[in-house]
Symmetry: C2
Subunit: 492 residues, 2 copies
């Protein structure tokens, strides 16, 4: 992608960024600073309210634009160029409220609109406005999920929501905690066990166990690996099955894997970070059949369920285990002589001390949809994925990587006209560069974003991974990206 913007253009963009009324003229003339607002200035309520409402006006404008399909998804700039477009320095003296509002506007203008209906780049897509409102409230409460003492409502809320999620997993009881990010939750799980089994070997599917062409773990390969490890004097203890893999959206056969785990007395963890939301659909939850046999599960509602990032939960079937393995016995942090039942305190359940409130936005969003709304949402996404798959199959130049996608990931190549008739080896070699080229042009045009990658084992050249998780995606959006790829790639 060429570094095409010259100084003149840069100045033009900068000028545009500084347009627009921020504080009303009257307020702007006052040249106000943060110290003129609450809590610093107890007589500054009007100014405080005015400033916060001005921020909200900017955000509303952003939301409106983001949902307008004619708005770009992003305005791409190379890092050095971007650094020239926005002033990021920390000043010696305070900046005025009006300058801060201008900064906010610049940041909004120059960012990537991840809620745009043409953004398909990550597993998390779309902006649920109820979840967003929930996060605004969370920020205003600014509390820590540390103890019942300082987060009484949110602690009870977490219990209620995780109880529901445990029912969906299919366990009679269980324990849970929201802690940042799938992988972290994941590490936490492993961590716990490492404390019990010091000579354990960790079998991670992505590195160790072979998969079929659709990306599903081969149970036979797992069993062979277990037997081989034992023969080598190792002590296998942990198997991670994935419900919805990151690239292919594949479902590991949990029932068969659970059988093996029972046979060899292994801990079964199901990583349902991406796929967990499918449990909300009675029509599709069979894809996770056997998940109730897992001893632990991770599930990230910020992915399929569309909660804002971050929102990741870790579940353990055995009640009390999270306490047992994470507790620091830090009496100086978690006093036992409190005037309420300290089993409600969660500080000892997680590795970290300060724990962000990730539950409220999920709770509010879930209530706004109800079980029924989520069911419809998930089923509709599955329909959209089918529609997209059919369109891809029917459109000249597209080839599926996995013929029958099982989830919301649709992996495909686009083959430009010039290489449609070359031999397979050369085609594969030239295809490696096609997806990156198309992606680069997409970003330059700013019209849409979709990810690409090679196969994990580098057996397949770079292909696109389309993900459909934005609850608001329409067929026209799916048509749009197909057309855009053809437009950009046909003559490559």
């Amino acid at each position: 992608m060429e570094n095409s913007k010259n100084q003149q253009e840069t100045t033009k963009i900068q000028k545009e960024l500084h347009n627009g009324p921020f504080m009303t003229e009257k307020m702007e003339k006052k040249n106000l600073f943060a110290t003129d607002l609450f809590p610093h200035n107890p007589r500054g309520w009007d100014e405080t309210s005015h400033f916060l409402k001005s921020i909200v006006e900017l955000l509303l404008e952003y939301i409106k634009e983001e949902n307008d399909r004619s708005t770009k998804v992003l305005e791409f700039h190379q890092p050095e160029e971007m650094a020239g477009l926005i002033d990021l320095h920390i000043p010696e003296e305070p900046m005025s409220l009006n300058e801060l509002l201008k900064s906010c506007n610049e940041v909004l203008r120059l960012g990537v609109r991840t809620g745009h209906p043409h953004f398909f780049n990550q597993l998390s897509q779309g902006l649920d406005l109820i979840a967003m409102a929930g996060e605004w409230l969370t920020a205003t409460c600014n509390t820590n999920m540390f103890t019942y003492e300082i987060s009484p409502v949110f602690i009870l809320m977490e219990k209620e929501v995780t109880k529901r999620m445990i029912e969906l997993i299919g366990w009679p009881t269980g324990d849970a905690i929201f802690s940042p990010d799938m992988q972290f939750s994941h590490v936490q799980n492993i961590w716990e066990w490492d404390q019990f089994h010091h000579f354990a070997v960790l079998l991670q599917k992505s590195f160790n166990i072979h998969t079929d062409a659709s990306g599903r773990m081969l149970p036979r390969a797992l069993e062979e690996q277990i037997i081989k490890s034992k023969e080598e004097g190792l002590y296998p203890f942990f198997v991670c099955a994935t419900a919805g893999t990151t690239v292919y959206g594949a479902w590991d056969p949990i029932e068969e894997i659970a059988d093996i785990c029972e046979r060899y007395d292994l801990w079964l963890h199901v990583d349902a970070a991406w796929g967990g939301g499918i449990l909300l659909s009675p029509e599709y939850r069979h894809k996770l059949a056997g998940i109730e046999r897992a001893k632990s599960v991770t599930w990230n509602p910020h992915k399929l369920m569309g909660s804002l990032l971050q929102c990741s939960a870790c579940f353990v079937r055995q009640e009390g285990l999270l306490f047992q393995v994470n507790q620091m016995s830090a009496d100086y942090l978690f006093q036992q002589d409190k005037p309420y039942d300290v089993s409600y305190d969660t500080g000892d359940k997680a590795i970290q001390c300060g724990r962000h409130n990730d539950i409220f936005k999920l709770w509010l969003m879930w209530r706004s949809k109800g079980m029924e709304g989520y069911r419809r949402q998930i089923n509709r996404l599955m329909d959209m994925a089918k529609y997209f798959t059919e369109r891809i199959k029917a459109t000249e130049g597209f080839e599926m990587v996995v013929d029958e996608p099982e989830f919301l990931n649709i992996c495909f190549w686009y083959v430009p006209r010039s290489i449609r008739s070359v031999d397979l080896r050369e085609k594969m070699s030239r295809l490696e560069k096609i997806a990156p080229k198309i992606k680069a042009q997409m970003m330059q045009r700013g019209t849409t974003m979709v990810g690409y990658q090679p196969d994990e084992h580098k057996k397949r050249p770079n292909f696109f991974r389309m993900v459909i998780s934005n609850a608001n995606v329409q067929k026209v959006d799916l048509d749009f990206i197909i057309d855009e790829i053809v437009n950009l790639g046909y003559d490559l």
Copy 2:
């Protein structure tokens, strides 16, 4: 604390909670649902805007009340009682927008006001409204600090802010990442090293190294432990010095510890999670003298700097090290053939995959204050701590735990009249129960909150740990808590 609320009272509170206009009458009559809003209903902009503004009205009301000193800090209820006051269930059918607004109001009413000027319970206090506005924007952008591709502005912003923080630490260069929570950053640090030194022993001061009466690590004890460990065939490699301990606010003597680390070739980590903000004050930064000799530092701006939780940074002096030790080489996540300099991508620098944007709120807040504003804020807090210490020393019945607090933690006992003249052993034994009793009554009255704990080594009975980190705290607030403790404790 007795479970005093009867059913009648519960109903009364519930009734109060449901008062107040939420959506305007016109909107309420329409009985709207989330599906009537953007993005689900593209013709629903007015309703969308109205709903979000209604949420903001609730939040503004909350902020106003929180800053009113006559408002309670909390309304305490036992967990079972609280569960009866608020309906937390996940419904089958969607709930209306009006019901959601009522839920929000209930949550706000029943929570703990951590930004209240009489809340002294945690290291994080107060609600900086600029940081809060920043977090509202962060939620609206809902992006992931994963790659330059999807977070161009925030990635550059993180570079700019951490560059400034590295200068404050005193390193010529360095590498940094914001990742959730002090302890997690901490683990991350250790983790890195564990990958290099498989037979290493970890010396954690809080468990292993003796401290003086003020809670400062004794360098001689550290050196003795190192020598002893080596003699036992262990391989010490990591020393964690703390700049501002959680309970006493003590400063470990970094220069002397650094000398020892150099002598024995040990990795020096400085945990400045709490104390790091002192680097912003030219008058007090000498307390961290020697920090520039550390190889890694953790610093949580959500504590002293007053950014919203969470906001925690981890710094490493050697550039490139975070990449080296955390990278998963996950080409399928972080492609190397992108059309921009991929060294801007941070995905391989952290353990986790999805990384929340914790930088924007800090950046916006810092700009609102400038270096000069922060300097004044920190110095003012130190003055307030001195004022409080003097008042405690001058008030009958109070005894200092550490005579000369060095930071913003002031640890003290309150001795009720009845045990002022008993012998020391009995006094100590009876004091153990005093702080919990006073605290329980404080919470019952809802007037203020301050933490208590015993000494880490259980040598000192339960004492109060006052923390002064709310930028807006006034002398009247400090007077208030002293009076409140006397009122509650005098006759115990």
